[in-house]
């Protein structure tokens, strides 16, 4: 199904992900790369992202529970998380990683804690919204196939 023939509700849902600042240009570029041979590239990336980073999130949370904080270690974890988040255009999560990093550099414990809580919320929210979007996109493709003339 061509993207410009997607059902309106799906188009609007997709657009809202950009309007809310959740995704950036990288997501669009990855979608552009998808073709008949690789139709699910973006969804596979996102699925792998959440599988790969869920443990990292737990590790960071545990590291934030130690005292004193090891800012070098936290910096390293953020490097990984930001790299992964940027790979598919997770704009807000990426921004939170950068902000967290600034607090690490400044040795600001409260800033790190607060930013991480924010990051976790954005991370979870993006997951829910992308799962919903991909599910609707799959349904739309199935519907499109069903309605094609034989």
């Amino acid at each position: 199904m061509e993207r410009n023939h997607l059902p309106r509700h799906l188009v609007l849902q997709r657009q809202s992900l950009f309007d809310q600042g959740l995704l950036d240009e990288q997501f669009i570029q990855l979608e552009e790369l998808q073709d008949d041979a690789n139709p699910n590239f973006v969804e596979e990336v996102v699925t792998s992202y959440y599988q790969n980073t869920s443990t990292l999130i737990v590790i960071i949370e545990q590291a934030l529970g130690t005292s004193p904080l090891d800012f070098n270690k936290l910096d390293g974890y953020m490097y990984q998380l930001k790299g992964s988040s940027s790979s598919f255009g997770a704009k807000k999560v990426k921004a939170d990683c950068t902000l967290f990093r600034e607090y690490c550099k400044a040795g600001n414990v409260e800033g790190c804690m607060r930013t991480f809580q924010q990051l976790k919320k954005e991370y979870a929210s993006l997951k829910r919204k992308l799962e919903a979007y991909f599910q609707l996109a799959r349904q739309a493709r199935v519907t499109g196939t069903a309605s094609r003339p034989k």
């Binding site: 790369l33 073709d35 008949d36 596979e44 599988q51 790969n52 940027s86």
Partner: protein
């Protein structure tokens, strides 16, 4: 449907086998067979960078460490483009790039970083990379470079 990219978690199976999702932009076919190498310790980045390069028409291998990359080159593998992450486990990104240049590698080498540390760019450039870029590796950035390599 099997995942598009080796090592990826597959998306839920689509019921149609002839998905017609439109590519908004048709990448050119290359005159040469372009070969790429990704050196990145972070699994998802490695998978995505390899995937992007592959979907842009570059036959790409991916390794986790600088040592593995150097070993590949020492075994005779050649590449048109090599992307190296700043932070690798033992041999750093710049050290890997430097070693490659010492071995006579003339490929385009790109240093990638997720978070900027002061001195990183200078270190990478001194090691002999052609460019230094913040992640992500994006198709719009990559394709013009591939076009240059293809010419």
């Amino acid at each position: 449907m099997a995942p598009a990219i080796e090592g990826m978690v597959p998306a839920i199976e689509s019921s149609e086998g002839n998905n017609k999702m439109n590519k908004g932009y048709q990448y050119p076919s290359w005159k040469k067979k372009l070969r790429g190498l990704v050196v990145d310790n972070e699994e998802l980045c490695r998978i995505v960078e390899k995937g992007i390069m592959g979907l842009c028409g570059v036959e790409t291998q991916a390794v986790e460490t600088g040592e593995a990359a150097v070993e590949l080159i020492a075994s005779g593998a050649t590449f048109d483009i090599i992307v190296i992450d700043r932070f690798l486990p033992s041999m750093t990104g710049p050290e890997t790039a430097r070693k490659m240049r010492e071995m006579g590698v003339e490929s385009k080498i790109i240093g990638l970083f997720a978070l900027y540390f002061e001195g990183d760019e200078e270190e990478f450039v001194a090691a002999g990379v052609d460019d230094f870029k913040e992640k992500p590796l994006s198709p719009n950035w990559l394709v013009p470079m591939l076009r240059e390599l293809d010419n």
